[in-house]
Symmetry: C2
Subunit: 197 residues, 2 copies
DNA sequence: CCGCCGGTATGACATTCGTCATCCCGGCCG
DNA sequence: CGGCCGGGATGACGAATGTCATACCGGCGG
């Protein structure tokens, strides 16, 4: 019996995945959590063989959780097949990476394969991740781009990061250049779609 | 036996919902589709009692599908509890509106209740929808905001909508005013979060 | 029939952005 | 030890953006 823990913030989705895996005779869902920061305690309590992690969760992101988890196989299950996400997931040592628009049958298969010691990654995604490459953005450029999301002005960003307006402009300019965008909004959009933020 | 059709573009989620409802003795999932524009044909073919519609799907959005569907009860199942979505859904005559972070048990309950002729809407969401109010944006203002998403310049927007740059600036200015934002990016963000786009 | 609203357009104006050059500092690598 | 890179800052300049007043047209409600 493969013991599985599921972490996803959307009740309906989490319940759905549990129901899906519950249909498999050799898989048992031993716990479900809705927040990233509850995963570690639950893993300690239930000792699952495999942990399914959504990336976007309150508390801690799935990627952050994956970095902290040891002694258990991790499969990232996410809506967004962003190259940067895959890269960070692999850096964090996950055993599998499945996107939510993959065929439903693939989930159970992935769980079995990582249990058997294999690494499960969508080949198409892997190619894209290699093609797009790693993030060229520095830490601060990321910070500034994140702060710029939602339409904050240079002054707003400067205040929220305790920087001078001029410095913020420099970082934005640099990030715009690196993303090949023509303004901050496009830069944010590009960086986000690549999983760089 | 309540016959249900599920429309959601993410295989894993759709499969999950199907598995979840499959556990109920009085509910039968008779069809699944992944695109909005496949729903009508599938409804004609399978004659379900209830149709579960995700909003964000390729082809047609769940809201557009709901407007076109007659003779069947519709439940919107969406990630985003945006007031504007709920409003448009109710205008389209749906019988239920469930957000994906609702408890899993609520889905089957919602299906049963709409079958019994009830209308199922999250009370909190209903309050927010009434509080926030309907969209103050005109059609063109929406168009321009949508086109502005992703960081397009005034010139880009003008080209894509066959307008003068000055006119685009006017619409943007007006939309920025109506959303209480301080620039176009914030306006897009606000309008989107309210479901006005 | 007149007025208002939405769509479209023009021109002028102040403000914000994006770019560039240049500077300082502290690590880290060769 | 001497670069080089990343973080941080300043000032200047041109381009893009946001605001406002004004105008014309077509439809719809009073």
């Amino acid at each position: 019996m493969i013991r599985v823990l599921i972490a996803d913030d959307q009740d309906l989705v989490r319940g759905g995945l549990a129901a899906l895996l519950g249909l498999e005779p050799d898989i048992e869902v031993v716990a479900e959590v809705a927040r990233g920061d509850e995963v570690l305690a639950s893993v300690a309590a239930h000792r699952p063989d495999v942990v399914l992690l959504d990336i976007e969760m309150p508390g801690l992101s799935g990627l952050e959780v994956a970095e902290r988890l040891t002694g258990v196989r991790v499969v990232i299950v996410t809506t967004f097949g962003r190259p940067g996400y895959l890269r960070r997931a692999l850096d964090a040592g996950v055993a599998g990476f499945v996107v939510k628009d993959a065929p439903a049958a693939e989930l159970a298969a992935a769980v079995r394969r990582v249990t058997a010691g294999e690494r499960v990654v969508d080949p198409k995604l892997a190619v894209t991740a290699l093609t797009v490459g790693a993030s060229p953005l520095t830490t601060r450029e990321c910070d500034v781009l994140r702060a710029a999301d939602g339409g904050a002005s240079v002054a707003d960003i400067a205040r929220s990061l305790f920087l001078t307006e001029g410095t913020v402009r420099n970082y934005l300019s640099s990030a715009i250049g690196k993303t090949g965008a023509r303004n901050r909004a496009a830069a944010v959009s590009t960086a986000r779609s690549r999983g760089w933020l």
